[in-house]
C-alpha cells in the first residue's frame, strides 16, 4: 500500500540559479495513509512551501512528489485530488456559505439540487447547518474556519491540507477546534497534513510530525519521540522549551562531550544535585513555578510543581534530575 504523500529529494529554489534561495532543500518525506501529520517549524523554514508543493501551487525545482503512488509533479492543482484549508480561509466573498461549500461540486458539473444537498450535509458536519444563506463577511472567525473546512471536505479529497488552520482564532476557540479537527479526521479517515508554527498544536494533534529548519527536515517522528529525543539543538530548542546544554556543561553533569537537552520539568531541587546555579527570577505558572537560574554562565530553566518550597532570587541552589532525563544529541 503506497504512502499518502511521498517526497523524493524534493527541492524548491527561488531566484536566480546562481544564487538561489532554497525554500525547500532536498526533502525526503513519507506520510502514511490516514495519518494526522504535522509540519512544524518557524516561519521561513519551508513547511508552507512543502504544503504548496503537495497542493500544486508550487512546482519542485528537483525531485518528485507522489500522492498515493502517483507522481503528481506534472499535475496542476485543479486536477489533484487534494484540498486545502487556507490560512486566511480564502472564502469567496461574493457567494453565500452554501455556494462556497458547493463550489467544488459545481465546477465538476454536479446538478444544483444534488450539490446543495451535499453542501448541507457538510455544513451539518461542521455544525453550521443554519448558516447556508449568510455571506462570509457575516460570520465569526471560527465559523469561517469551519466553512473553509466544509468546502474542502465536500470534494472527498484523498488528502486534506491545512495551512495554519487555527492561527487566526483565539485561544479558547483554538483548543475547541483542535479537538474537533482531531475527531473529524478520525471519523473520516482522510489523511490530514497540517502546517503550524505552534509546537503545542503540533504535539497535541499530530500522530507524527516533521520539524523544518532552513528548508530541510530536522527531524521526523511521533510527538513523543520529537519531544523526548530531539536530534538537534534546533529541535530541542524549538519543540517544547528545553535547556540546551553545551558539551562542556553536559560533561560536567556526567555526560559525554556533546550537546544535550534537559527538559525544565525534569529538574527538581536537590541539595546534592549536579547542577549548581544562582536563581535570577521566579514566575508563577498556575500549575507550578518556573525558576530561572545561571549555571556556569548558562541560563537554565526549571519548573517546580506547586507545593515545593521555593528559593529566593539571588539564592544559590542545586538541582537534580534522573539520569535518563539528560538527552544526548547526535549533533556535535
Amino acid at each position: 500500500m503506497p504512502a499518502a504523500v511521498e517526497f523524493r529529494s524534493v527541492s524548491r529554489h527561488f531566484g536566480p540559479a546562481s544564487a538561489p534561495i532554497k525554500a525547500v532543500d532536498g526533502v525526503d518525506l513519507t506520510i502514511a495513509e490516514g495519518a494526522f501529520f504535522a509540519m512544524l517549524g518557524p516561519s521561513g523554514s519551508g513547511k508552507t512551501t512543502c504544503l504548496r508543493l503537495i497542493s500544486g501551487f508550487e512546482s519542485p525545482t528537483a525531485g518528485e512528489i507522489c500522492i498515493f503512488g502517483e507522481n503528481v509533479s506534472n499535475t496542476p492543482p485543479h486536477l489533484r485530488n487534494v484540498n486545502t484549508v487556507f490560512q486566511d480561509y480564502a472564502l469567496f466573498p461574493h457567494m453565500n456559505v452554501r455556494d462556497n461549500v458547493a463550489y467544488g461540486l459545481m465546477v465538476k458539473g454536479m446538478a444544483k439540487a444534488q450539490r446543495y444537498a451535499k453542501a448541507e450535509e457538510m455544513l451539518a458536519l461542521v455544525h453550521l447547518d443554519a448558516y447556508g444563506n449568510r455571506k462570509p463577511g457575516q460570520l465569526s472567525g471560527g465559523q469561517r474556519q469551519r466553512v473553509a473546512l466544509a468546502r474542502a471536505l465536500v470534494n472527498e479529497p484523498k488528502v486534506l491540507l491545512l495551512d495554519e488552520p487555527l492561527g487566526a482564532l483565539d485561544l479558547k476557540l483554538r483548543e475547541a477546534m483542535q479537538d474537533e479537527l482531531k475527531s473529524l479526521q478520525q471519523r473520516l479517515g482522510i489523511t490530514f497534513v497540517f502546517v503550524t508554527h505552534d509546537q503545542h498544536e503540533a504535539l497535541s494533534m499530530a500522530d507524527s510530525l516533521a520539524v523544518f529548519n532552513d528548508g530541510k527536515i530536522a527531524q521526523i517522528g511521533t510527538p513523543a519521540e520529537i519531544y523526548a529525543q530531539p536530534k538537534t539543538r534546533f529541535v530541542a530548542d524549538f519543540v517544547g522549551s528545553s535547556n540546551v546544554l553545551p558539551p562542556m556543561l553536559t560533561q560536567s553533569l556526567g555526560g559525554p562531550a556533546k550537546w544535550s537537552s534537559l527538559r525544565p520539568e525534569t529538574l527538581h531541587l536537590d541539595p546534592t544535585g549536579a547542577l549548581q546555579g544562582i536563581v535570577t527570577s521566579l514566575r508563577y505558572l498556575g500549575s507550578g513555578h518556573r525558576i530561572a537560574l545561571t549555571a556556569q554562565g548558562q541560563d537554565i530553566a526549571a519548573i517546580l510543581p506547586t507545593g515545593t518550597p521555593l528559593p529566593e532570587p539571588g539564592q544559590e541552589i542545586r538541582l537534580g534530575f534522573t539520569p535518563d532525563a539528560l538527552h544526548i544529541m547526535d549533533e556535535a
Binding site: I67, E70, P77, H78, L79, R80, K158
Partner: protein
C-alpha cells in the same frame, strides 16, 4: 478514486498547460495590450521623435531626412524659447491654482461629507467632468468677455476698479479678461480642476481618522496637523492630480486659441507647425519637450507612490 483527476475538457488541458508554463499565460495576457501600446503607440512616438532629428531645407521648405541637431537649436530661438517658457509657467500656475482650489473640496468630501452630502460632493465633482469641455470653454468666453458677465457683475456692484486693477497688472493683464493670461489661467484651472480633486480625495480618504485624532491628541494644533500629517499623506494624490493638470495644460491647443492674446503655447505650436505649416521636424522637436518633462515627472511620481492614487 485516484489522486489525479482526469482532464475532462479543453479548458482543463489549457489550464494544465498554463500551470506548467506560467510564462505562457502571462504572455497571452500581456501580448495584446503590449502589442497595441508597446509596438504601435510607442513605435509611433519613436517615429515622431525621429523626425525631430530631421530639418527643414532653408530654401524649399522641404523636410531633409538627414540626422541633425539643428532643429533642436531652433527651439532656443527667442520666439520658440518664449513659447516653452510661457507654457511651462502657465502649466505650473494652473497646477498650483488647482491644488489650492481642490484641497478644501477634496478634504471636506473625504473627511466630513457623510451620507447624502458625500453623494452630492461626488456628483458635484464628477458631473463637470462629464459636461462638454468645449461648451464649458465657450461659456467662459462669455463670462470673461469685455462686455461679458464679470464686467456686468462688476458694474452692478460698482467694483469695476478691482477688475481694472487686475487688468492693469503688467504681463498678465490685458484689454479684457478674455484676452489676458488671467482669463486663460481661470479657464484652464476650471476645466482641469476635477482631475486634481479626484485623486486628492482618494488619497485623503485613505488617511485614517484615528491618525488625525492621534495627532491632535499629541497636542498638535490644527495647522501643525495639517502640515505634518495631512499634507504628506495627501501628497501622492496631489502629485497624481498634478500629472493631469500639468500635462493637460501643456498640450492643450484649444483654450489658447479661444481665450488669451493669441500668443502661442506648445500645444498650439505643435498643432500648427505640424498640421498647417508642414514643419514636422520643428513640431516634433516641440513635442519632445512635454514628453521629456512628463517622463521625468512620471518617474518622480512613481517614486512618490503617486501611481496608486491615480
Amino acid at each position: 478514486m485516484t489522486a489525479i483527476l482526469p482532464a475532462k475538457s479543453l479548458a482543463d488541458r489549457l489550464t494544465t498547460l498554463f500551470w506548467r508554463k506560467p510564462k505562457l499565460l502571462l504572455a497571452l495576457l500581456i501580448t495584446p495590450p503590449l502589442l497595441w501600446l508597446g509596438v504601435i503607440y510607442l513605435g509611433s512616438l519613436a517615429a515622431l521623435l525621429l523626425q525631430s532629428f530631421y530639418s527643414i531645407d532653408e530654401f524649399s521648405g522641404m523636410v531633409v531626412r538627414e540626422f541633425t541637431l539643428k532643429t533642436y537649436g531652433e527651439l532656443l530661438r527667442p520666439q520658440n524659447y518664449d513659447i516653452i517658457l510661457r507654457t511651462l509657467t502657465m502649466s505650473a500656475a494652473v497646477t498650483i491654482g488647482s491644488v489650492i482650489l481642490a484641497f478644501p473640496i477634496a478634504y471636506y468630501a473625504a473627511r466630513y461629507a457623510r451620507g447624502r452630502w458625500k453623494a452630492v460632493f461626488y456628483l458635484g465633482i464628477m458631473l463637470p467632468l462629464w459636461s462638454s469641455y468645449l461648451v464649458k470653454v465657450y461659456a467662459w468666453k462669455l463670462i470673461l468677455a469685455k462686455e461679458g458677465i464679470i464686467t456686468w457683475a462688476a458694474t452692478k456692484t460698482h467694483t469695476n476698479f478691482l477688475l481694472d486693477a487686475a487688468l492693469a497688472l503688467p504681463g498678465i493683464g490685458g484689454n479684457s479678461l478674455s484676452t489676458s493670461y488671467i482669463g486663460m489661467f481661470l479657464v484652464f484651472t476650471y476645466v482641469w480642476l476635477p482631475f486634481m480633486i479626484l485623486p486628492m480625495q482618494a488619497s485623503l480618504e485613505r488617511v485614517p481618522t484615528s491618525m488625525l485624532e492621534a495627532s491632535q491628541d499629541l497636542g498638535a494644533t490644527r495647522a501643525q496637523t495639517f502640515r505634518t500629517v495631512i499634507v504628506p499623506l495627501a501628497l501622492p494624490g496631489i502629485i497624481a492630480g498634478s500629472i493631469f493638470t500639468f500635462s493637460l495644460t501643456m498640450g492643450d491647443y484649444i483654450i489658447p486659441q479661444i481665450v488669451g492674446n493669441s500668443a502661442n503655447f506648445i500645444g498650439m505650436a505643435v498643432y500648427q507647425l505640424q498640421g498647417t505649416a508642414g514643419n514636422t521636424p520643428l513640431a516634433a522637436a516641440f513635442a519632445v519637450i512635454p514628453i521629456v518633462i512628463m517622463l521625468i515627472y512620471l518617474s518622480l511620481a512613481k517614486r512618490a507612490g503617486a501611481f496608486d492614487a491615480l
